[in-house]
């Protein structure tokens, strides 16, 4: 079993997606436990993979026994295994959370919802484990297509937002495919390991430079990196709350992972750092992304839309860490992928829970919400503090490494920009927290003798609260264990030449 874990992690959700329809036609209520079981199996196999990688090193899995340059090979090193654990764990937690909110928002489409949900997880995990550039394109499109469908079943302008995402996302995927084609013309190979050995002799060829540009732009579209982010706020705002929580936490992070792979595995680090000034350019765009995201988040009155802009800023953080191109910076970036997945999943789940209970997302309507939903708002506050970067939470630790990276790279402006954007996100979140906790209590009617409005506690259901609190526990403990995570996993994921 364990030797086939790399393929099982993809095949299990893929096959279950089809069985899910049959089970759903027979007994609808069975879908939810079935999906939970499948995703738990994914979590177990991804943890088993991570354990194997930590103990025995990189796993090479040959699909169908074909040897690498010809057949498709799945290569799992520390970075992949780490990402697989994040994605499968977050998708399990969000699936647990989904029960009540899906019943309320999409009561007739539960069966199809879970089917597409499993396909999305298949795509994301496939992108992570594959070691073949064309295979990666296929999985990228599986994940994106599932994403389009899931976003389109949301409320209000969701179909329109999803359509925009289809158009832009397809351009991104096609650019990636073109990049793969150019690499294939000059090398005749599609295997990542093989390509990374063949490419160095061709680094000055214009075809390779163009291929690199196409690959980077394609991935930047998929991860909503700053100038190419326009599809994200609409799509993630109108999507069903469960879907927002899943895609916000995983999709952009997987994009960031692909970017790291292309820059440091497919191409040798010195190509992306010295031959082309990619890292310098990325660094400056990332700073703009951080500032832009935070400033636009301030202007939003819709909680989910505000979180979307924060997400764009967070993508900026990750890319900034990558652009330092030193050990500290990249460690910070990879750690931030983990932390941000938890923070975003938590924040979007809280937004979903508020939607579930009061049916509104406007920040103005949150007055005294802490009396009605004390636990949910407590979770929101902790996740918000983590995004800002307050010490015991995990957000602080990744920002710490990012700033250390900036200092190592002697990029003082970037270090200052990191702190300024933290302050900006503090303003963004304290606006919400102030509105909820510190607004003065208003008398209901003046003639009522000025009695205060009585607000009864009316919490979100337990099936939502427990996943939210698991994520909060993650936010609080991941920070404390970040040293262990770095020494066991991340330090091996950073290229040795750094």
């Amino acid at each position: 079993m364990i030797t086939h874990a790399p393929i099982l992690i993809i095949v299990t959700p893929l096959i279950s997606a089809f069985f899910n329809i049959l089970i759903g036609l027979w007994r609808r209520w069975l879908c939810y436990p079935f999906v939970i079981t499948v995703l738990s199996a994914c979590v177990f196999s991804s943890i088993a993979i991570l354990d194997t990688v930590i103990n025995y090193g990189t796993i090479h899995y040959k699909l169908g026994g074909w040897t690498p340059p010809w057949g498709i090979e799945y290569v799992i090193d520390h970075l992949n295994a780490f990402m697989a654990v994040i994605v499968s764990f977050i998708s399990l937690i969000v699936a647990v959370y989904s029960k009540r909110s899906i019943e309320q928002e999409l009561s007739e489409k539960i069966v199809y919802f879970y089917t597409i949900y499993l396909l999305l997880v298949t795509g994301l995990l496939g992108i992570i484990v594959t070691g073949d550039v064309f295979n990666l394109y296929v999985f990228l499109e599986i994940a994106s297509l599932a994403g389009y469908a899931l976003i389109a079943i949301g409320e209000d302008r969701a179909p329109l937002a999803s359509f925009e995402y289809v158009i832009i996302g397809t351009v991104g995927a096609c650019f990636y495919l073109l990049g793969v084609g150019y690499l294939y013309i000059v090398t005749g190979s599609l295997n990542m390991t093989d390509l990374s050995q063949l490419l160095p002799n061709l680094y000055h060829s214009k075809v390779v430079l163009v291929a690199f540009a196409f690959l980077m732009v394609g991935v930047a579209v998929k991860m909503a990196f700053f100038p190419l982010h326009v599809w994200l706020p609409d799509a993630y705002t109108y999507a069903p709350s469960t879907v927002s929580a899943l895609v916000a936490a995983t999709m952009t992070k997987v994009g960031a992972y692909v970017m790291i792979r292309i820059m440091f595995t497919l191409f040798k680090p010195y190509f992306s750092i010295e031959l082309l000034p990619v890292t310098t350019v990325l660094g400056w765009i990332a700073v703009v992304a951080m500032m832009f995201g935070c400033i636009f988040a301030m202007a939003q009155s819709d909680l989910k839309r505000m979180l979307c802009y924060i997400l764009i800023a967070e993508v900026g953080y990750i890319v900034l860490g990558v652009s330092f191109a030193n050990r500290m910076g990249l460690t910070g970036a990879i750690l931030h992928i983990l932390n941000d997945a938890f923070m975003m999943a938590c924040l979007f789940s809280v937004a979903g829970a508020i939607m579930y209970k009061i049916g509104k997302r406007d920040i103005k309507d949150f007055r005294h919400l802490h009396r009605k939903m004390p636990f949910t708002m407590a979770a929101f506050t902790i996740a918000a503090l983590s995004v800002i970067g307050i010490p015991p939470t995990c957000g602080f630790f990744s920002k710490w490494y990012l700033i250390l990276g900036a200092i190592d790279a002697q990029q003082w402006i970037f270090a200052v920009a990191l702190m300024i954007s933290s302050l900006l996100s503090a303003i963004v979140f304290f606006r919400v927290i102030e509105n909820t906790y510190f607004e003065p209590r208003v008398p209901v009617h003046a003639h009522n003798g000025g009695t205060h409005e009585e607000i009864k506690m009316d919490e979100a259901p337990l099936s939502m609260l427990i996943p939210i609190f698991i994520m909060v526990a993650g936010i609080l403990t991941l920070g404390i264990f970040s040293g262990k995570i770095i020494s066991n996993v991340i330090q091996f994921a950073v290229p040795a030449s750094f």
Partner: protein, 135 residues
């Protein structure tokens, strides 16, 4: 080599670039949603053309080994005689992906049409404003 000769000798790539730009233009500039996805389809087809044309060779035949029946191929295989089949195989997969993208886009268009009663972008935005205000 003169410019004209350079253009003619690589005509397949020029056509691919031209088609891709036509598709790209339609996706960005057209206000009608159906025209947008037609543009998207042209854009994707251009990429198929690019891949397929990279596999071709002058004077080569289809990639089936001649006299290759039986257990062992008795003669050396000269790769120059055969068209490279791999780009074609890749494009089979890519076509499947593109068809599904097209299908999803069409389904979305049906959803949009049911909601707003039009497929012109400007009118949709007007309609969605009206719907929002009515709430």
């Amino acid at each position: 080599m003169g410019t004209i000769e350079f253009i003619i000798s690589k005509y397949n790539y020029w056509i691919y670039v031209l088609l891709m730009m036509i598709g790209f233009y339609a996706m960005i500039a057209k206000r009608n949603l159906v025209k947008k996805i037609v543009g998207m389809n042209i854009f994707q087809t251009a990429i198929i053309l690019f891949f397929v044309s990279t596999g071709s060779k002058k004077g080569a035949s289809i990639p089936i080994i001649q006299n290759g029946h039986g257990d062992v191929v008795s003669h050396a295989v000269n790769a120059a005689q055969y068209v490279n089949p791999l780009p074609h195989v890749l494009m089979l997969t890519a076509i499947v992906v593109m068809v599904s993208t097209f299908g999803v886009a069409l389904a979305l268009i049906i959803m949009i049409y049911r909601k707003y009663g039009t497929l012109e972008e400007d009118e949709i935005f007007e309609m969605s404003e009206i719907l929002r205000l009515r709430k």
